[in-house]
Subunit: 454 residues, 2 copies
Amino acid sequence: MVEVTKAILGSYFHAPTYGEITYVQNALILMNTQGVIESILVPGDEDYQQTVEEHRQNNQLKELRKDQYLLPGFIDTHIHAPQWPQAGIALDAPLNIWLDEHSFPLEAKYADVGFAREVYTDLVQQLLARGTTTALYFGTIHKESNLELVKISAEMGQRALVGKVVMDDKEGNPEFYRDESTEVALRETEEFIQEVREYGKNVPQGVYPVVMPRFVPSCTDEALDGLGKLAKKYDTHVHTHCSEGQWEHDFVKERFGKTDTETLRDFGLFGEKSVMAHSNFINDNDAGIYVETGTAVAHCPISNVYFANSVIPIKHLKELEVQIGLGTDISGGFSPSLYDNIKQAVMSSRQLEEGVDTNLPQSERGVPNSRISVAEAFYLATTGGGEALDLPLGLIEPGYTGDFQIVDTQIAGHELPSFNVFDEPEYLLQRILYLSTQANIQEVYVQGRRVHKR
Amino acid sequence: MVEVTKAILGSYFHAPTYGEITYVQNALILMNTQGVIESILVPGDEDYQQTVEEHRQNNQLKELRKDQYLLPGFIDTHIHAPQWPQAGIALDAPLNIWLDEHSFPLEAKYADVGFAREVYTDLVQQLLARGTTTALYFGTIHKESNLELVKISAEMGQRALVGKVVMDDKEGNPEFYRDESTEVALRETEEFIQEVREYGKNVPQGVYPVVMPRFVPSCTDEALDGLGKLAKKYDTHVHTHCSEGQWEHDFVKERFGKTDTETLRDFGLFGEKSVMAHSNFINDNDAGIYVETGTAVAHCPISNVYFANSVIPIKHLKELEVQIGLGTDISGGFSPSLYDNIKQAVMSSRQLEEGVDTNLPQSERGVPNSRISVAEAFYLATTGGGEALDLPLGLIEPGYTGDFQIVDTQIAGHELPSFNVFDEPEYLLQRILYLSTQANIQEVYVQGRRVHKR
């Protein structure tokens, strides 16, 4: 395990307040031995120069070069790790074909831990290379392969939250890929929680077990009830899908006579450490339940284009003070990059505001006042992710973990445009978020340790 | 000027038929001294092996390696070259702020040919690196800087179609950035046509002058009429914006009592070599005018999200047999990559089909049967671009120009997922289009000459 970098000297962007960007120039960020930010000195502070010099002399200082900028590590609050081989595949097919002929047979292959190791090792590396320092992973039904994902993330230095997926309903799931029984599903979930907790004791950046029903339609009442009890017993994170598409939303109402949100809450699956993927169709009463329970939305804008039959009203939900993080939803979303999802979050909100159908008068086309800014989308990928997971992540401030990405805007062959126009910090960040690719991410740090170098 | 590569041996994808992908394995593509494809041999052809050997021995053979694939060069049918420094900037601002405080002051700077040279040299290189081998460029009002763009493209090996922008209406344009007078605008357009024609005689891949009113609202009737006559006199390409957003669409109807399409046609600006950017709001009668005149649409899906107040019904227009190419529309669109626009073309069509507003019943939300496939979007970026420009581009077939991009799916540090699942050619191309970045583009050829190497 590499050592903690004691100090980083550079200029950084982060978003302490929703919709506002803070830019700090030539800051000296000091981290403790646990890789947590202890203090930040800026030019003008009395001991700034001396402290810089001390760390320089002790070779404890990482200095950013010209054209390099520090951003918080991104937080992916919803990603199906086993679906990485399916990224970009068959998105033109209807959902049932996409699932039954692609996703489910693929996920079934993770009964083979060797296959899991191969895919998960590549995925974690690819996410780190794109600046994703924390990921909330959907696994498969296979306990051993999920443990493999936990260990691979831990060893590669990424902060991982992983769940053993529960899909026990014999009606709702294919015979070739479902839990053997409700009892086995619950027992293996409990064992998985205990084993990850034990293993995690020696993982500096942390690994976390997650209670994870696939979604209501794939689970029996007994399983949902049992998972709620396990979440309470072990105070774990909870993650599932909620009101993603029209079909799911209507199915749950039909089955329980109440919304997906009310159903999941009543099974004990809502709480401070609960994250619900998508949530496109929640109403204001549902949103109130998210707020009062501290449950967060994992917004997956690219995936939603293909599978959510709508655009989630992010601006409205933020006004209701719902916690919202950003997710790639591999492979419902094709891109493993949160940069791509930041852009799509902005674009989808514009399409919600403007509407789509040119045959309608402009006044009837969209939903006015729905757009979000790129600064707001950046908040979702950083600060919002930390809020969603209830962990000190996403900000560059004392008490937060040392999770960073160093973006170089002038990497040879991948230079961002720069002609001494629009060079205010605000525009600089816009350029980074809209135009940089993985090739511009020079280094990535998790919990103060460098985990990726270009 | 580098020499023509006589032969390329590799597997390629292209789209001779809308919506269908053709994959040819281990093809030997033979080019003549003009860089035009002369013949294509495939394994099994009588003289295949012998011809391969001959070119190998004469060092005239470019052989693709394992995991490398050949695609046609992409064709950007709408890009504002001077706005490259503005890419990704201020997209949260309203259109008037975006234009008056950003685009127009920026475009005004191209009175300085030195500034133009700096920006255009970078832009052409960046486009080639992303596989764009042909571009239809909006320039500025400045004849000299436009000529600079023509020469830079010619020297760097890109096929460029360039226009001197006409915006002569004193009401419709800011005093600091508009043509001195209608008469000067028309005279300089004619001089520009003559000078580019003369210069182009020695450019193997071709450079083309384009008649280019900015859009109807920025031009006087006299200018539009004069430009129509110049287009006819010199048989040039014509390029402008048509029915992009609600405001423009309504403004033209108000001013002329007919649609933007009818107006431009009546000024003599529609024809086989005419390309209209956006065209989101054209009706079926307008579409009929596009078809009967051979005028094409330049679809710019990313830009449309920000500035077109709608999604253009591409599937419907293709059913009406309108020619459609793809464009980046830098900087209304933030991305210089047609890969990104292929993805957004698919995503926007899905949002048109599904609709956006969760408060509406699903049946009233969108426009059924509007989605296009990634194969259809790929056609727009290649074959469709060739149709739009009325040039032999976008296909890998005898008689077409040797414009190629070599995509390497396993570049170190930028490997596309590959775990021996979903490895059919159809899925391989989907992965390339959805997941590859500039870093995966190993080499680019225009008219048989290599113009970019990673």
